[in-house]
Symmetry: C2
Subunit: 357 residues, 2 copies
């Protein structure tokens, strides 16, 4: 069965509805990548092991559940005066799988495929050897194979998206992947730039990570027929959650335990990528201490830098910033109809900033 | 003004109509890549120098011209009994730009962008330093930048394609890029495989190069309202032309003059990529000579291999195979209405296999 993010107990009905849906998403994902060339299939089977907690598909489906209004005739028969914009939680049907459409599941598979493509190409960029506790494509078969395999995943994501037959969804996802690449390009442009500040860091993170996660939530809600106001709030929820997620990811790269996280760590420092704890460290320290921090960065001395960041409070300040984005995300949820799916999204947001993996 | 492939004289009206259209394609191309991040714009401006003869956009437009029937009312007023399937050259309007639609130009920009993305990623794969007489992105800014820039181009190609609002075109191009990547993946899989035969080589070439060129011709005709029979013939024309083009490209990589070709040569040998002249050499030679050829391949001795391939006749046999595909391409043109655009396509096909650049 599909692995899922661990959340607090008390969400059994929705967790089991989600698990059933995620299994169907996996079937769509695997069917899309099946090729008549056996060499291609072998590679894709390896990449499927990269699939982790399926955060992005989970968010599409959960936003779909959270925003799904009751079917029109039920609403009409119960309270004929109700408008879609003022649906109450009582208008929600029980959380059964048929609340979601095939379009939700296809979009969920598409966003996972886009994410997987970025993982494969990120590993080339980072020269990473380990991903989800397994060897990376670049480490096993070289950078060339990893570059083209990433391209194959991107191409298949767009192809799968096109099967929905809705040009607006294609346009939206094309826009998001443009934004995502811009974030990566700007980040690379600022490699070894020690003057990068919090605002630029957050702009990069918003583009390279949060834009896709925001669109997962918006599309999930939109495909459930949610009014514009709710879809927009769901998008804002996803963006804030995505920023918190990336801040935590960057924090773990500096202070995490590779055995727990399951991928190569310390890569940001190796690659001259300045992330929030380091930005805070440089901004907050006295001139003399700043020189010491810069020396550790330039010498790629991960162990000493880690200690310094913890002792100085830069790690704590970073964690607080992540929690701030979680709070912001949760406040956006108020726009969605109350119910177990909305509560589950709130718990998910909390878990993103407290995770150690 | 946009550079174009050089063809025989005598096509002034169509060449000038094409040049005007290609200028508009360039505008669409550049507008699509404009970003609000200046670092991104700088990179894209560099990549635009890669634009060469614009073969693929030219084929979209030219196929559009060749297959465009006269406007319905003109046909009706002149010969009311004519059916679309039996249009004669006299039904063609003069080759003015308004024969083509904005969709032709958008598709032309999209296929060029897809092609440009493959160039940027190919240069990473080949570790090439020179492209269109300029330095490659990977050589200037590293592999990481080239990987993400290629992704940005792919993403923008799909986004631009989605602006047409026709899911069938998105689906078709997604299918083509899937096929293209499969061709590249299978080629990489067979690196240093000395048993690769002509059939496998042609299958790889059909996928990685000819599939996109075939679709350029089909889409150009289809967007001009050509009947299925003609669109299909145009696709077959493009596939055969694409195979001839790639065979010639591979031949030039072995025996071309870098100053004339304008990109890093000898890369196939360096990367253990066996192309048609070498496949013929290994297949046709006596056991002792075969051993000698294998030694030169394994030692990456380009100069000696080049001499051997010329002397043995492997180069001539390869050139003959390319010419065979050109003939096949030209025979497909018979399905299209006679006229200057069709003739021009024939001349273009000839030039592909005889080019030295």
């Amino acid at each position: 069965m599909t692995r899922m993010m661990k959340v607090d107990a008390g969400f059994e009905p929705i967790a089991s509805a989600l698990a059933a849906q995620l299994d169907q998403v996996t079937v769509i994902f695997e069917r899309q990548l099946a090729s008549d060339m056996s060499a291609v299939n072998k590679l894709c089977m390896h990449v499927e092991q990269y699939r982790g907690k399926m955060l992005r598909p989970t968010l599409v489906l959960l936003s779909g559940f959270a925003a799904a209004p009751a079917p029109a005739q039920e609403v009409r028969s119960q309270r004929s005066e109700v408008s879609q914009a003022s649906l109450s939680p009582h208008d929600l049907r029980p959380l059964t799988s048929d609340l979601l459409t095939e379009k939700h599941r296809i979009v969920a598979a598409v966003v996972e495929m886009i994410h997987m493509a970025t993982l494969v190409h990120d590993d080339v960029l980072d020269e990473a050897a380990v991903r989800r506790r397994g060897r990376t494509v670049n480490d096993l078969w070289g950078n060339e194979m990893a570059v083209i395999l990433g391209d194959y995943l991107i191409s298949n994501a767009f192809h799968l998206c096109s099967t929905i037959g809705d040009p607006a969804i294609n346009l939206t996802l094309g826009d998001v992947t443009n934004t995502l690449c811009e974030g990566e390009l700007v980040q690379l442009h600022h490699r070894d730039d020690y003057s990068i500040d919090e605002a630029l860091y957050l702009e990069i993170v918003r583009r390279k990570t949060a834009s896709l996660i925001g669109e997962c939530c918006r599309l999930g809600a939109m495909l459930s027929g949610a009014p514009e106001r709710i879809s927009k709030a769901m998008k804002n929820f996803g963006i804030a959650l995505g920023i918190a997620f990336q801040i935590q990811d960057d924090l773990l790269d500096l202070i995490g335990d590779q055995g727990v996280v399951g991928k190569s760590l310390g890569k940001d420092l190796d690659k001259g990528k300045l992330t929030l704890p380091v930005i805070y460290q440089l901004a907050d320290s006295e001139p003399a201490d700043r020189g010491e921090a810069l020396r550790l960065i330039m010498e790629r001395d991960a162990a000493s830098l880690r200690l310094l960041l913890i002792e100085s409070g830069a790690v704590a300040r970073t964690a607080a910033t992540a929690k701030g984005f979680v709070s912001q995300a949760k406040s956006e949820l108020a726009a969605a109809p109350a119910g177990p799916a909305r509560d589950y999204l709130g718990v998910l947001a909390e878990s993103v900033a407290s995770r150690t993996w």
